[in-house]
Assembly symmetry: C2
DNA sequence: TGCATATGCAAGCACATACTTGCTCCGCAA
DNA sequence: TTGCGGAGCAAGTATGTGCTTGCATATGCA
């Protein structure tokens, strides 16, 4: 309500930046998108750089609360699927802006750092969950911990690549998001040495909860 | 030799575009990088758009010959590792330019199409190899074909994400490229139902060939 | 009523960028 | 020697872009 224009400008800046990148996000375009005179933009933020900096901070803060995995694992397959689903939805929601940040990370290191810690936190969460799985006896002991780390990176990488590329390389993703994520999780669990009875080939369970497309919270 | 400047300009354009993107790749910068007067750039290519278009075509042609997987699988683990290694090196070598292309794919669809078919071909190669694995009895029958497709996408996604993000998000990749790729392949094989004796936990084999960092051919 | 703050509008400035024009110089082949 | 094509150089044009200034208007608070 108060300082409404400030938020309008920040939101407009996020949209324009996601579409056109740093150089393409001109102050005129941002002001137009916000429905605001270009001058008020400078009166509020002083410079384009300062505006985009603040926009990134807001963006990073908004993304802070990612999904979590349960402290005591019970049904790893379902738990991991829901977590992956939320993670995937999160990345998909910011894919445009993330693409821009990544492409500009070499030129503007500050931008890159902003985009990096989200996935890093997620991978950490996954690794922690996996030691819980091992302690609970769900994951066999013969898989070395180094491989568990790599497995976490691998699943995160697959989720990341899926969310980033699915809309661009349509031929590479013939299956629906749900089907793909379910398969990723099953392959992950088998690959990491989960005992066979933990990895049900759930044709029923898959169709049962195929209705939910994204988990927002 | 003949038309030397043409190639110099095209190479310079590729380098500058990879660093700064479309908007950042100004004709002045490209001409400077090529050691050539800006005017000769226009005399050769007519416009910036035409120059960058031709640069992308050259780039796509150079990337055409990716690695292949053997027609008759013998040692899936080693074969997949070498293929993954080559694939990873290929993506790593073009990661800057790929990052730019992806970030501009929404704005300039032509650019996106150019970047898409490389990974698509690789995923196809992987899928074909997997049906050979199944026919050879190396992969168990109880894994449905749908999941095999997803597995191929998953491995490709992990390779892609690793190659694209390793230099930016250093904390997410504590292990060396070789260690990671070897682990990805093992997890992939186990996850896809490869019979246990095919997936050796090769502490020796891993250290043995840990010296080669990239397979160029 | 008064005053401060926020906003809009019009204009402008300095610079960068895509692209053009006109000229000169150089090497090479007829 | 003449002519021709490729290249450099200097200058210029039209537009885009970040940012400033000056002035008018509205809104809300004392």
């Amino acid at each position: 309500m108060i300082d409404d224009n400030r938020h309008r400008i920040l939101n407009a800046a996020a949209r324009i930046y996601a579409q056109h990148g740093w150089r393409g996000a001109t102050t005129r375009r941002i002001a137009d998108e916000a429905g605001v005179n270009e001058v008020t933009l400078f009166r509020h933020f002083g410079s384009k750089e300062s505006l985009l900096d603040q926009m990134m901070q807001v963006c990073a803060a908004a993304r802070a609360n990612g999904p979590t995995l349960p402290l005591v694992p019970e049904n790893p397959q379902d738990e991991l699927f829901e977590w992956s689903s939320a993670q995937h939805a999160l990345i998909t929601g910011m894919r445009s802006i993330v693409r821009q940040m990544i492409s500009e990370a070499e030129e503007r290191p500050r931008v890159g750092g902003c985009a990096a810690d989200g996935p890093a936190a997620a991978a950490g969460e996954l690794r922690d969950y996996m030691v819980r799985l091992r302690r609970a006896g769900i994951i066999a002991d013969h898989v070395p911990p180094v491989e568990a780390t790599a497995a976490a990176t691998m699943l995160m990488g697959a989720l990341f690549a899926d969310a980033m590329n699915r809309d661009l390389m349509t031929t590479m993703f013939p299956q629906s998001v749900d089907e793909s994520l379910r398969a990723y999780v099953r392959i992950f669990l088998r690959g990491v040495g989960a005992l066979p009875e933990q990895v049900a080939d759930d044709s029923r369970s898959a169709t049962r909860s195929t209705t939910l497309t994204s988990v927002s919270e």
